[in-house]
Amino acid sequence: MSMTTVAPPARQATPGNAAGPPRRRGPRALLHAFLIVVSLSWVFPLAWAVINSFRDYAYTTEHGYASFGGFTFANYAEAWERGNFAQGFLNSLIITVPAVVLVLLLSSCTAFVLARFNYAFNLTLLGVFLAANLLPPQALLIPIFRLYRQIPLPEWMSDSGSLLGSYWGLILINVAFQMGFCTFVLSNYMKTVPREIYESAEIDGASVWRQYWQLTLPLCRPALAALAVLQTTWVYNEFFWATVLIQDFQKLPITSSLNNLRGQFFVDYNLLSAGSVLVALPVLVVFFALQKQFVSGLTLGSTKG
């Protein structure tokens, strides 16, 4: 779900926006009532999971879910233990951090060249990158699967002996798929850097690499921060590639290990809730702490920096 939008430049600060025709009170209250009902029903599924994750299974079986009481923390301890969460979170970390760093580094390199120079291939290159971002991953599965099995990795890099079933393979495919989006957003952002800065840097004898590393990148911090937040969420949430490329249950990132959890927890829905809340927790924390970055990341393509 990595796509950008395009829109005209953002509207100016709008204190005067309310200065339209005076509005009537009644409809406004109605609108609020509507939005409150909608918002509450939107939060409900997750809230339901959170509430039930704190309840004792024996209690809810006896009194039904519509009851009140039987609160406990035990589900979390049990879910953590039985769901192998420590390992799952560690795997997610091992995959997500290098993937995000790598995709930002590589895409900012290409974006810099696209924004800084005018080569004939610029537009084609951007098109090739962006389109790659939108292809259905399932359509590439067969060749990737074969390719990964053919590429041997030494024992110290992967115990599976090939790219298939290794963290490396998963990191690389995540990076390849996210490159287009990041390159597009960053090159748009970098185009707002005034040319004069580069000209004076050139006069000072700064190499291209120094211009990129010491001039452009620091100026792009807001865009990089927003993309980092967004990419972290996406790679953490990635399900398909991890499911098909990693066979060893011990190496699955947390999102893909959900598939096995249902069997583990069977019909204990309170345990299932606790497991779901645990998996959701990192992205929810990111969401609430860095909401601004998240939203601006999603809509960054639109405002052109």
Partner: protein
Amino acid sequence: MTSDTRAARRALPRTRRQRKLAPRDRVVVTLMVVIPALLVIGLVWLPAIGSVLLSFTSWNGIGSLDRIKVVGVDNYVDIATIYPPFWPAVQHNVLWLAFLIVGPTLLGVLFAVLLDKELKGSRIYQTALYMPVVLSLALVGFIWQLLYSRDQGLLNAVLGTQIDWYGDPDVNLWAVLFATGWRHTGYIMLLYLAGLKGVDPSLREAAAIDGSGEVSTFFRIILPVMRPINLIVIVVVVIESLRAFDLVWIVNQGRNGLEIIAALVTANVVGEASRIGFGSAMATIMLLISSVFITIYLRVVMREDRT
């Protein structure tokens, strides 16, 4: 092409100033493009071409590459004629698309329009509505299971029914669609909100002075101005419907009422019987459909990019 001339025109003042690069700089620039490009081409485009080529062959995926037999379009014929899950899968994907457009997408537009009025507390509403966007679809499937479960789910308790919402092939597609829609709505709302913020406020003022009502202003003035966003949202929805996979895989790996193309491709590779040529033919069909919409997307995005 007109786009090329436009690019060239804008490029003029730049090229005039662009100096010849020192040899070391030229190496650096080359590497900065070639390494990322190799990754994208090697792991996305070459495999895509591979899928297309393999779709004309027959291969069990185990033997070496010289065991591959060219069979022409046999795989495509087989898929259309003797592979029972294929047509249901196509139907489900189309239904998926139709549902997403009629339900969550329109709802997302409506929410965006309402929240764009800058009401008191609109930030809170906004947060509630797009919170599901940060959750993975696999997790969404899990969370909704608590509502859908036959014996302990809330839905049956409230309705007094005994339906296995994820298991019953008559209803499970709808159950899955609702869960997807829960997440999709917030995403569309966010895209549209960004678009609405970009609409020149003087347009609305002019319309208001002309005595145009809010609804007609939206349909006659705002919506046409947002044409690029509208197009992109449509492309986004089509591609999302085509790529739909996670939720269905979590529920039952795309069987029993939940057949979709992406799951069929996957099942043909990782499942018991790996039929490479067969799976590739379906993959190629996916590529074909998506390439049409990717082209639209690129045209919109790149045109805007140049102005």
